[in-house]
C-alpha cells in the first residue's frame, strides 16, 4: 500500500486477555518501529527491527510484550495477560533503513482499551 497500515484501528479487550496488533509497513522499507502513546504523552519507543531481527527492544516494558517480524515485512506486536495500564495508542512506523537520519513514516495507530 501507499502508507503504513495498522490493524485493528480499535481494540477493546478485558484484563488478562491476549492481544495482537499488526503493522504492514511501506513496501521496501527495511526498518520498522513500534511506539506507544498514552494520553497527554509523546510517543514512547518500544522496539525497532532492521529486517527480520530486533535491533533494539530496550523499550518493551516487560516480558508480557513481544514483537515479531518473521519475513522482514509485516510485524505483529503481542501483549499477553493485558492490564488496564496497557491502554494506549500503539504506533508503527517504517523507514528506508538509513538509520535515524531517515524519515519515519507512521501509521494511524491501533487504539487499545483494556477494561
Amino acid at each position: 500500500g501507499a502508507g503504513v497500515s495498522q490493524t485493528p484501528s480499535n481494540k477493546v479487550t478485558e484484563k488478562g486477555k491476549y492481544v495482537e496488533l499488526r503493522c504492514d509497513p511501506i513496501s521496501g522499507h527495511t526498518a520498522l518501529y513500534w511506539y506507544r502513546q498514552s494520553l497527554g504523552q509523546g510517543p514512547e519507543f518500544l522496539i525497532y527491527f532492521q529486517g527480520t531481527g530486533a535491533a533494539d527492544d530496550s523499550g518493551l516494558p516487560n516480558d508480557r510484550f513481544f514483537a515479531v517480524r518473521p519475513e522482514g515485512s509485516v510485524s505483529t506486536l503481542k501483549i499477553q495477560r493485558t492490564e488496564r495500564g496497557d491502554s494506549a495508542v500503539y504506533l508503527c512506523a517504517s523507514s528506508r533503513g538509513q538509520g535515524g537520519t531517515g524519515e519515519l513514516f507512521f501509521g494511524e495507530g491501533s487504539r487499545l482499551t483494556v477494561l
Partner: protein
C-alpha cells in the same frame, strides 16, 4: 540518554498571529532534530528536520526551526498561522545509545488556531 523537553503543552493563538513552539534537548556530541505534526484523526508526519549544515530549516507550509547549539534548542516558528495549522506538534531527537538509533519524542504541544 537523550531527552526532549517541550515547555508548553497547549498554545492557543488567533489566526494570522505568529507562533513559537519551544523545544529543548539534552546535550550530545552530535544531534539530529525533528519536528513531527499530528493533525486531528491522522498519523504523525514529518514537518522538518535538522541533520547538518544550515541551522535554519524550513517546511513547505511556512514553518521554520532553528538549531541553537549553545542553548540546546530547536524552537518551531511560523510568522502567520492558519486555522489548518491546528494540530499537535512533537519535537524529537535521535538517540544513539546502545548502538541503535531511535527517535525520542517530547510530550507534544497542542496548537489551537482560533478565528
Amino acid at each position: 540518554a537523550q531527552s526532549v523537553t517541550q515547555l508548553d503543552s497547549q498554545v492557543p493563538v488567533f489566526e494570522e498571529a505568529p507562533v513559537e513552539l519551544r523545544c529543548n534537548y539534552s546535550s550530545s556530541v552530535s544531534v539530529y532534530l525533528f519536528w513531527y505534526v499530528q493533525y486531528p484523526n491522522q498519523g504523525l508526519q514529518l514537518l522538518l528536520k535538522y541533520l547538518s549544515g544550515s541551522t535554519l530549516v524550513e517546511s513547505i507550509n511556512g514553518f521554520e526551526a532553528e538549531f541553537n547549539k549553545s542553548q540546546t534548542s530547536f524552537h518551531l516558528r511560523k510568522p502567520s498561522v492558519h486555522i489548518s495549522d491546528t494540530a499537535e506538534y512533537f519535537c524529537a531527537v535521535i538517540s544513539t545509545q546502545g548502538g541503535s538509533e531511535k527517535l525520542v519524542f517530547g510530550k507534544g504541544t497542542k496548537l489551537t488556531v482560533n478565528p
